[in-house]
Symmetry: C2
Subunit: 413 residues, 2 copies
């Protein structure tokens, strides 16, 4: 030791960006953190790194080239040749944009909902003085397409239907292809909240003729929250022209003008530059894999998760129309699902999701959305076995993982 | 060289994240890039790095602690004990939020504008069926506070005034302290777009009694675009309660409820997690420096910039109420200011800003906002000398820099 003191200085006031949580367990505080929720989803290291480059100005050829590439990638992701608008917002802002841009005060609309997020359409409609007829399926079940047909027949004045691709609160996937057909037969257009479903479930905006499709960045796009996207076809644009509700920041007219009027696409307001740079990178990774491969991977991961859950004697909450983005599971008898969540998080560093709305405490939700592969499912189910053990449910350790591995071997994942 | 080929593989298909621009000049393509615009502004490396950590879930104690710290830092930044709401949006969304949350259809409001961004208040009001009386000062000059007093006297039915702290399009700083006094004397409340001015100009939300103040992240906050902030006092909350225009995503009721109803502040929708983590870090740096020191630094940098510009024989566009965030300069006779901009960018890698609206082609704008110090001004003015030389204006190289150095020595910067 020199006279100046120890060579290795004592570190004081060091703040870890992710401080260990205030759990009551005793273990090493080296706790690896995982996100296994249906959003925000994990972000590839290459995409994280993009945000660490110095910011660039948005009115430069450099950024314009990045935005153009991101835009092209979005169209491939949405499977559309139509414009896809990008807003600095999260998904709820995109939902509001659809009500504000596509409806008028006093207008009657149909909301076809399968849960908490589907119902949000009706809440937003109310704020905009739009009369929403709310059809809500039993939670855990998909929207009954025949019920939608019946309701549209009974309300010929409804010219627009709002619905959900993947109902994140229940883990249900709705049949948008059939719904679109039924809505079009009734002379209406369809607006689909595909926030958590796009990139997980096969979705063909143009081939199915879906009029308006919206999504958010922290789901299948593998980037942080803060961007929302809206794809719109000509029928949607026509409805926009006659819709009288107020809009400015989310104005489709302004956004479409900036996307199309110049040689390079642009935005009316300053874009969320760093997130768009990350988006471009993430879309490159996604399209290198290929959309069909992405969909197949999600289907296989969902299948493996369900097999693991059922092998442990647990019941699926949405057995008939399960989502490829997340698996919702009914909690163990007598155990609040919040405790399962908390044990996952505090003991094993894994963020899963709990129940929402009327399912709070009753279900927990395992995500397998975005940047997820077979190894994530092995880990998720193995830790589930240990969590169940801790909350007092008898399980054969390894039995869930065995079921997962069998599916992964069969699916080559 | 081994049989396998050269040890150093040829890099093919390499994409640089910031490709050199398509300028026509011949020089090395090693071009360092600088942002010297009034937004987006440069981001400290420590803040950039925060975005490269794995994402964390927003419904966790870890994120809640970060959001709480960011919130506390925002209140210090706004100099208020009132709530400051955070939205995933850029500044225009925050402006729209104020119209949607604080006015009713048919209501008469006064817009006191000093340029392009001030006029935006009237555009948004129109979209929301609000009758905006627009008072616009001559561009390059501040709002005449006596004119505001006169107009409020003539329109006693106006209960809310919308204005701008720092008019980014002209480089003018308005006297918000006096305006607030006048507006309050008339029995109205004041809403201030402080998007580009907060953190540059001294601003005392509580001491001056400013009712509603909004800002955006890519300016004085030293983080990327994508967050908008709104501080509101009790008078603002009362106006919000009676305001009938529609809002949902930007609802102040919902945002305030989530900020205050639980032990830890929260947001109604998924927040822009990565940007909030960066915000917390940036606010730590800012408060280590101290708000008074930040304001003093901006005043000195602005003074040095003006001295440099004038020493080169150029005329300031806003000589009577110059902004501490940016300096707007009248272009050289016969030279479109766009060429000055383009030369800065393509030849020297520096993004400055051009003229907007009716000043397009006539002025250019030099930023000194956020993460800027004396070295930035030396560079900015030195490169300006070289740009002027290139566009054919006779200048004594070094004479602008001399004037800058004199100020910096006097100001200890």
């Amino acid at each position: 030791m020199s006279k100046r003191g120890p060579l290795r200085p004592k570190i004081t006031g060091f703040q870890h960006p992710f401080p260990p949580s205030a759990g009551t367990f005793k273990r090493s505080n080296m706790l690896k953190k995982y996100i296994m929720a249906p959003g925000p989803t994990p972000i590839p290291a290459e995409v994280l790194a993009e945000a660490s480059f110095p910011i660039i100005h948005h009115r430069t050829p450099q950024f314009q080239a990045i935005f153009k590439a991101a835009n092209d990638g979005l169209q491939l992701f949405f499977r559309t040749k139509n414009q896809v608008m990008t807003f600095a917002s999260v998904g709820t802002g995109a939902m509001e944009s659809a009500i504000a841009n596509l409806t008028s005060p006093g207008e009657k609309i149909l909301v076809a909902s399968s849960g908490h997020f589907g119902n949000r359409w009706a809440e937003i409609a109310k704020a905009y003085s739009v009369q929403a007829e709310l059809y809500e399926s039993e939670w855990g079940y998909a929207i009954d397409v025949e019920e939608v047909r019946k309701r549209l027949k009974a309300s010929p004045d409804v010219k627009i239907v709002f619905t959900t691709l993947n109902e994140t609160s229940t883990g249900v996937l709705n049949d948008i292809q059939t719904l679109t057909k039924i809505v079009h037969e009734a002379g209406a257009i369809i607006v689909v909240d595909a926030i958590s479903g796009l990139g997980a479930a096969p979705f063909e905006t143009d081939a199915w003729g879906v009029d308006v499709v919206l999504s958010g960045s922290q789901k299948g796009f593998m980037i942080p929250p803060g961007l929302a996207f809206v794809a719109i076809n000509q029928a949607g644009i026509e409805k926009n022209k006659v819709a009288k509700n107020p809009r400015f920041y989310f104005s489709y007219e302004k956004a479409l003008k900036k996307l199309t009027e110049e040689k390079m696409p642009d935005t009316p307001w300053t874009p969320a530059i760093s997130l768009i740079i990350q988006l471009k990178k993430a879309l490159e990774l996604i399209h290198q894999e290929g959309m069909e491969a992405v969909w197949k991977r999600h289907a296989a991961l969902a299948k493996a998760t369900r097999a693991g859950v059922e092998a442990l004697g647990l019941k699926l909450f949405a057995p008939t129309a399960p989502s490829p983005a997340l698996t919702s599971v009914i909690t163990v008898d007598g155990v609040d699902s919040g405790l399962i969540n908390k044990t996952f998080r505090d003991t094993y560093g894994i963020s899963i999701a709990g129940g929402q709305g009327k399912q709070k405490g009753k279900i927990f939700r395992l995500g397998h959305l975005g940047y997820a592969d077979g190894s994530d499912i092995i880990l998720e189910i193995a830790r589930l076995e240990m969590v169940l053990h801790k909350v007092g449910k008898k399980v054969v350790l390894g039995s869930g993982v065995k079921a997962v591995e069998e599916i992964l071997l069969a699916e080559n994942l």
